[in-house]
Symmetry: C2
Subunit: 136 residues, 2 copies
DNA sequence: ATCGGTGGTCTCAAAAAGAGACCAGCGCTA
DNA sequence: TAGCGCTGGTCTCTTTTTGAGACCACCGAT
């Protein structure tokens, strides 16, 4: 935090990778970020970071997700390598979802963002209220 | 809208995992996260972290955003206090967008995620390819 | 025999996003 | 002086994404 040089240096590297020279289109970083920036993706990763969950458990854990979007988001997370899906031959069959090593490694920076949100949600709420008041 | 994602039973455990032990009565984290996890939000914050940009510059920087979504996303980011909007009385009037202190402070953890994406986009790409091959 | 819990899929409606026309005002050029 | 383009938007229409909820087969317990 106290090192401006570190921040600047890191930023430059990031932009080199991000901007692909000229603009933000067709950049791999953006492709990855968008894969985890969906409405439910980060939420499910956060839940699975605690421990593996079964489909129905996740559904109860996140009550306002539709079954359809739960299926779809887990499928996308599995496709990108963040989540492992394992079917157990119980009767009826149960399905367990867990984070892969890649998923756990991604959760580390994601957690930083979550902690920022925790620390600054008051500022965001205040900004919203001020903006809405000013705009009418 | 109620920002409590998790039901009461699971709340304590999950929050413990999410926040390294800190607890809170309400759950604004999700509200804040969703405000910056839209398709274009993080991208625009990343762009503005470099330097302030005018509307048209942003539109050229992110060629595949529609003018409509650019307006709307910038408006939302301004409302949440991440972005400052300033109109200059040139002819025709020009509008400059820049990060606020809040926006810059949010960019620090966001940058961590971007750096992770930079380091791991190959792994994600490989996972996708493997998954698509396996599924046919 | 019926009920509930398993992890889904299917359909239809609603919401969100994309595409592109349009706008007023001014400077530049032909 | 008549057009043309650049400014930052908005408005409308179409397409994509999401939400709500019905349905499914299976089995064990009631």
């Amino acid at each position: 935090m106290d090192s401006k040089i570190f921040n600047l240096k890191a930023k430059l590297e990031v932009y080199k990778a991000m901007t692909n020279g000229a603009n933000f289109a067709d950049c791999p970083v953006r492709d990855v970020i968008q894969g985890i920036s969906g409405k439910w993706s980060s939420l499910l990763v956060m839940a699975l970071a605690e421990k593996p969950y079964r489909f129905g458990e996740l559904r109860r854990l996140v009550p306002d997700i539709s079954q359809r979007m739960l299926t779809q988001t887990l499928h996308d997370l599995q496709r990108d390598g963040y989540v492992h899906r394992e079917v157990f031959p119980t009767k009826p069959p149960s399905v367990e979802y867990s984070l892969t090593d890649l998923g756990r490694s991604m959760f580390l920076p994601l957690q930083q963002l979550v902690q920022w949100a925790e620390l600054n949600h008051d500022a965001v709420r205040d900004a919203r209220a001020a903006f809405d008041t000013a705009q009418g």
